[in-house]
Subunit: 147 residues, 2 copies
């Protein structure tokens, strides 16, 4: 992801906040800047720590409240993990799923899952009416693989 797309994603999120009647403030700018460019799912506390580098007055409570709004606007989503299920990441664009690095936590989306056949099979065998699915892959990212 280039520097420009990061910046514009960030501006896009801020515009989105404003358009929804929320105010654009310094602490929110710091959090948005962080979340729009992060390639790792982050816990609230990590966002707080990182965000304070940018805006030292930032409070943890504001992190929680801002994440709540960003999630509501569909800009950010929660990521569930073995080692924690309160991490946040830039939301998927359309129908995408996650690959996560178990070593460094690097997260990447991919699209093109082909589980339609599987869903049909499960529908047949269990009688469930499937409406949603969750798919996550875990492994080593290119950087961590070479070590």
């Amino acid at each position: 992801m280039s520097e420009e797309t990061q910046t514009s994603l960030c501006d896009q999120w801020l515009a989105n906040l404003a358009a929804s009647g929320y105010r654009v403030t310094a602490p929110r700018r710091a959090i948005v800047e962080l979340m729009a460019s992060s390639t790792h799912a982050l816990e609230p506390l990590a966002i707080y720590d990182q965000g304070r580098k940018d805006y030292p007055g930032l409070g943890l409570v504001t992190v929680y409240r801002t994440l709540e709004k960003l999630e509501e606007l569909g800009l950010v989503q929660r990521v569930h993990h073995h080692q924690g299920c309160h991490m946040y990441l830039r939301a998927a664009h359309g129908h995408e799923h996650l690959v996560l690095c178990t070593r460094c936590g690097h997260a990447e989306y991919f699209s093109g899952d082909d589980i339609g056949g599987l869903i049909n099979k499960v529908t047949q065998s269990t009688g469930f009416e499937i409406r949603e699915h969750w798919l996550q892959l875990f492994g080593l990212c290119p950087a961590c693989k070479n070590q």
Copy 2:
């Protein structure tokens, strides 16, 4: 699942506890009986409430400590959900995945996922070395569908 298999699964778990050097006690028996036969993922508090019907002296702390041991022995596993990620369910037998009913919480395992092709594709496109995957389907179980 017939009554006999439930009973034997329960005995199997108790035997497993004993074989691992853990003691078989009344509170543990109550929890094992519950977990070995439940078709829903349950939170510690729900296990506590249910378990007290069987063994009124049961303490919540014992529920936590017993779940820890059952998980360690691979008899029980944590289930992550949108509405909570601290629920426990009988562990999968081999490579199975979950279908969950979003209305009543009924959980069922299925096998035969065919995502090998997908994993290859993602390996190619992202450079990740995929080692594990998480797949969960959500929908309505047969009973809830007809309402």
